[in-house]
């Protein structure tokens, strides 16, 4: 059975790229995708996927808040932050329970970036 993932990002443009990457390059099954932190919490509760990806800067509820809400109810949730935000917010996410962090821009045409992305995901499941 393929692992399941929920992808959450306020950019549909990027979300399409992420969905394609998880399906084609990592063999995941996409069970949901959302646009903000509220969607993330709802989709996680609904599907309890093997992995959820969260952008940080999103409208209505940001990814960091969504992560905290998910972890409160599901402390073992596998959460991968995918964001252009650097610095303290990134560290706070990792210290609060995110299992990995991928920095935007997503360079899917760069082999080194793709390898690093794959490694980050596989390390979450080790």
């Amino acid at each position: 059975m393929p692992k399941t993932v929920v992808v959450v990002d306020d950019s549909s443009f990027l979300k399409k790229q992420l969905v394609q990457f998880f399906e084609d390059k990592l063999g995941f099954s996409i069970v949901g995708d959302g646009n903000d932190g509220n969607d993330a919490v709802d989709l996680y509760k609904q599907h309890q996927p093997d992995l959820i990806t969260l952008d940080i800067t999103m409208p209505n509820k940001d990814g960091q808040q969504a992560m905290e809400e998910i972890l409160k109810e599901f402390p073992d949730a596998n959460i991968l932050m995918i964001s252009a935000v650097r610095g303290e917010a990134m560290l706070e996410c990792m210290n609060s329970g995110a299992k990995g962090y991928v920095e935007k821009p997503l360079k899917f045409n760069n082999a080194e970036f793709v390898d690093e992305f794959k490694t980050t995901v596989s390390e979450i499941f080790e």
């Binding site: 306020d10 950019s11 549909s12 964001s83 252009a84 821009p105 760069n110």
Partner: protein, 162 residues
Amino acid sequence: MSDQDNVAEILEKVKPDFIFSAKEAMESMFGVEGSIKEDWAIVERLEGNYENVFSIGNANNDYQAILIVSIQDNTVKKILNEAGSGYELLDAFGELGNNFCGVLMDQKNFTDEFGILTQSVPQYSQGNLFVPKATGVCGKVYFDNSDWMHFGYAIRKMFKGI
């Protein structure tokens, strides 16, 4: 020397960081090869008239800034293979701006001077662009010879109140 004179000097020094960030963001986002044809300018304020304008606020405890990415309709059609609605444009080019900010915050020369600034969600507008009382750096990144995206980044010291 005023605070903004000082900012202008710093911007001149870290100008290569802005150019690199714009080129890197554009190339990784759209898979095109970018080039710089004219040197970027340090300006007293960002202004201009563009068909599509995307803005993202940046801030930390010491500075507030704004990134403006401006693109003409014909360039949008080329890069997205369609005209696109306001929402679709904001989706793609807002993310371009978001990526620019991320790459810029990886540049040590910039962060040594200004620290790491956190970005807001992007906004879309059309027409006149005018950002007063904030010194900026701006210029174009070209692709396919004649098409370009215009980037402007204005920054000022945070007003701390009375």
